[in-house]
Homo-oligomer: 152 residues x 2
DNA sequence: GATTTATTTGCAACTGATTCTCAGTAATAA
DNA sequence: TTATTACTGAGAATCAGTTGCAAATAAATC
């Protein structure tokens, strides 16, 4: 029911931390991006709107958002950590094309109960599921067929 | 049918690369480890047996093993890439306890057909599935209940 | 098996994302 | 006001991973 600002404030309060102006701005920026992003991209967005926020503070705030359950890790890329906000964005499967880099997201629903069942039999209390599938998207798969050059 | 050395040699040959002594040693070490490992841990194992292999060569060889399909990425940890060999080690689910760090692996079989079906409906040619579940193992879950200190 | 050619290696220097240090600010409590 | 604690920006430090290079090695050709 609570919106993300409330959730963040509550989380911070519980930890004896403050919801400061930089943290507020970073939070807003995070929820204005509806794609995956890395720290520097996030920083770039913030800089263009307001100013006076440092990259260091972005790096310092991201772990707080993760712990507050507002943000999660997404697939790393080019040696950089990537993130995405979670609020109002239910768990999903990531389909990443290794050729064109396109990323598609689909529902996790069909897989979820199966995992819950496995977890129960293992006595494991699941908190976070990450399901990523790498391969070729429709477009790249057909292209690769044309270029029937070599390989296997 | 082919063993991993043969697979590696064939892969290298196809690329016009050579199966050298350092590469052979690294390959052996990789298949002597039956856990997840990072580049430095692998290097440590090799150094203790033979010598005269540099860390740089380990770093240069790992991508080759990945591309040859002999090794895959495992869950990153402490800011370091981790790996595991695949040969004779079918795809599996990783269950990682966020409290004690224990890692359990289980079969992917039950989930596999479901994903294949989804892939078909998306026209996505899946090549690699990564399913990791973070949470609390049986032990840590019960401990956390005792220490009913605070938190939600 | 000597010679040529292309690939590999160890080493050390480098890179770049992330973390840390520190001195100055802001918020809050007393 | 004063004391205490948390926060910030700036830049320095860290450190996993990469790269340039000259010497070594493997394979191909004579
Ligand atoms: Mn996503
Ligand atoms: Mn594994
Ligand atoms: Zn594609
Ligand atoms: Zn545990």
């Amino acid at each position: 029911m609570a919106d993300h600002a409330t959730i963040f404030r509550d989380y911070l309060a519980k930890k004896g931390l403050k919801l400061t102006s930089p943290r507020k701005k970073i939070l807003e920026a995070v929820f204005a991006i509806h794609e995956h992003f890395n720290a520097e991209e996030l920083y770039g967005r913030i800089k263009s709107h307001s100013q006076g926020i440092s990259l260091a503070t972005v790096y310092r705030t991201l772990p707080l958002l993760l712990e507050a359950g507002l943000v999660q890790h997404a697939l790393r890329s080019a040696g950089r950590e990537r993130y995405e906000h979670i609020y109002g964005h239910p768990k999903h499967i990531h389909w990443l094309c290794r050729s064109c880099g396109s990323l598609v997201e689909t529902d996790l629903q069909s897989v979820d109960p199966l995992i819950a069942e496995l977890a129960k039999s293992l006595n494991f209390k699941e908190e976070d599921i990450e399901l990523s599938i790498r391969g070729l998207c429709w477009k790249c798969a057909s292209t690769e067929n044309e270029n029937q050059t070599d390989e296997r």
